[in-house]
Symmetry: none
Subunit: 423 residues, 2 copies
């Protein structure tokens, strides 16, 4: 095992993931991608001095979610461990989800008397109103015979989390959220004929009815009507999921890992794999996030941790908005962020990998199944001839094409933490 040098310094790794940074060539950029069009001397420096390649986050052509892609890039097989976004987002919002619990992503919504959805976000209800409503919903009691407790928490605007806790629950159930307006709230149904799934579906349907009753009569909604705001008289649930049982990164690699990420979904992923969550003032998960504060936090975290995930959401936000100009500007800010990291770590003992968790096309405004670029810099990497960081230049690099799941073992092997298989 490689344990650093005589001075007792140990090897460290930073994995920087820019959410949805990879893109497709765009006509208005002369068929360049936003990444290729950006001025990014530090990304190019990493590509030039490092080893490059492309990564299929999940597998070629499979458009990943940020949750499955991040799980994969942390070395977990998402086909095996992923069980829905609900639980991961709940965990990332600071809600405890235990093995066996079932968690949902919820929306405050507006429905008419026939339970037809008029507004899936209840007019993007303000946090203040949502919090008051949530407090009332939490006071509902399920029949004691069920032996199930629930936790309902509003997070941001119309977004909320529901967690069911008790024996014999199952996440093999459908959504109540029709995911569109002008449709009725759906009855939740079991995906399988098991006692657990049938019972869990019943509980969610029961809660949905109770929630509706309490919300209809709630003073906050009376006020909203007066203020001509859409009432938040329904809770829509989707993405039932549990917490997968899996070994932590510490158990797998004997490392102390930390995560710098603002969005709750990524924080949830990092928490379930046992990473320390580092809070950074000014890190918001939006294009206005404080990039330099994140860079400084990453450099600091490296003093106490072996492995730091540095996640930036903003590139994905701009892509979903189809805002090419903003995406280029964000890449350039990420580049400066990485410049600070490069200038403030010991290059002899630190490996830095930069990638995207998936391609988000600014044209289709969707996650796409195209591979993403990666570059790894650090002592002894097999430097190749690539001189620019980009989707196409990196494809000519020495790593060739790997899977998301291969990235973590590759980094762990570089910092001497990979376990040998065989003798």
């Amino acid at each position: 095992m490689n344990c650093g040098d005589e001075r007792g310094l140990s090897l460290k790794a930073i994995l920087a993931i820019a959410d949805g940074m990879a893109d497709r060539p765009i006509e208005e950029l002369g068929w360049k991608t936003p990444l290729e069009a950006a001025v990014k001397p530090n990304l190019d420096r990493i590509a030039k001095k490092g080893v490059c390649g492309i990564i299929d986050p999940i597998a070629p052509g499979i458009p990943p979610g940020s949750d499955t892609a991040t799980l994969a890039m942390l070395g977990y097989d998402p086909w095996k461990v992923y069980s829905g976004r609900g639980a991961l987002e709940a965990v990332g919002s600071g809600v405890e989800v235990l093995p066996g619990d079932v968690a949902f992503r919820c929306n405050f919504a507006t429905v008419n008397n026939d339970l037809v959805v008029l507004d899936r976000r209840a007019g993007r209800i303000a946090n203040e109103d949502a919090t008051k409503l949530a407090a009332s919903l939490q006071r509902i009691r399920l029949p004691t015979s069920l032996n199930v407790k629930f936790l309902f928490k509003s997070t941001i605007q119309h977004r909320a989390i529901l967690v069911l806790h008790g024996p014999k629950l199952s996440s093999a159930i459908s959504d109540s959220d029709p995911e569109t307006t002008r449709k009725k709230v759906l009855e939740v149904k079991p995906f399988e004929r098991s006692f657990e799934a049938e019972r869990t579906a019943q509980i969610v349907n029961m809660l949905t009815k109770e929630f509706h009753k309490v919300l209809e009569a709630h003073p906050v909604n009376k006020q909203r009507t007066k203020r001509k705001l859409p009432v938040a008289n329904m809770i829509l649930c989707r993405g039932a999921g549990g917490i997968p049982k899996m070994p932590t990164l510490q158990e797998r690699y004997d490392i102390k890992p930390a995560c710098i990420a603002a969005v709750s979904l990524i924080r949830g992923v990092c928490e379930v794999v046992g990473m320390d969550l580092i809070n950074v003032r000014g890190a918001t998960g939006t294009p206005q996030t404080d990039y330099m504060a994140k860079a400084k936090a990453a450099v600091r975290a490296l003093k106490t941790h072996d492995f730091v995930l540095l996640h930036v959401k903003a590139t994905d936000v701009a892509s979903h908005d189809g805002n090419v100009k903003e995406k280029i500007e964000i890449v350039e800010k990420i580049d400066k962020m990485l410049g600070y990291v490069l200038d403030n770590v010991d290059p002899g003992f630190t490996y830095i990998a930069v990638t995207a968790d998936h391609t988000t096309s600014s044209t289709t405004r969707n996650h796409e199944g195209d591979p993403v670029p990666v570059a790894i810099i650090g002592s002894g990497v097999r430097r190749d001839d690539v001189t620019e960081y980009g989707e196409r230049t990196c494809a000519e690099g020495g790593l060739n094409r790997i899977r998301g799941m291969d990235l973590m073992p590759t980094l762990m092997s570089l910092i001497g933490k990979a376990k040998k298989f065989g003798a």
Copy 2:
């Protein structure tokens, strides 16, 4: 199926594996690898006239053992068939291990009265002493009620092999070897609550006690004490394993395969997959091995066999010693060895593949998870633009990046021995 030509000549393949030949760029070589720094006209000739690529012996980032990597490169899934080094090394040392047997790698060691290990190698005891001690240990009889026989054989210096033979044995047990000094000999424990594992653990503990008793009283050890040599009064066991059940190469591909390898671990792998083991005078598994004798043996073997594995250990030895200069010299000797092969086979009917079983870094002195280069020369391969054999040049080759398990099917396809899947 390709059956050679009208003259009745059939196609043949040589797979040359240089153990641990791949490396990382090294500062003292101007950030070249030893392979890149070596003068190797024949390796370059193979790369230039052939098709090149890189191989992950197991998977990206996973540091392989030579046993798992060789199994993979012979086309077997090591995750499925590998069950510990003990049995493979036993087989390679000429000890018969049958399905159901459990084999261990053992050390003659020195312990004090409290069974604390003082020297794990009993002063690297000479073969002569070890052989005498082993003969006495072999005379021990296990209670007939157990219905188990054992074979104990000393191999080189302090190294020995123990094989248990009988019904209801299991390799799911721990080691007695603490793998360090100043610790007590460990009690062997079952890894699972099965009759087989519990019984096997008991048998090993019983034998350990009996071995200790016989060794303590042994005249050889009385002599050693007089000669001020550490006594060999304990046998430490580790790596319990059985022989995996798997089809032979002959069964899989209808070929007659042969192996030229000096080290017992590789010979064991080759024997369990049904290869003929060819003994070569002067082949030692050390840097002083007779490279040309191996080359001549490989060319000869090709007259009677379809497929010859030509394995050289020396590159790995130099890497583990961190001896960069020696590693370069060994690469140059391997190059000459391959030159002889190239000059003495019929190029129209022979395919030669050259690779390493894993990367061994001369800096970390460990097996690492980096990929290894490969080049394949022979009639009709898709020759690419690579002109030099090396870790980075081959990464630009036409094979791109494949897994160890893909190599054998690739070679079998070239010599017309791959079975079609589908119609």
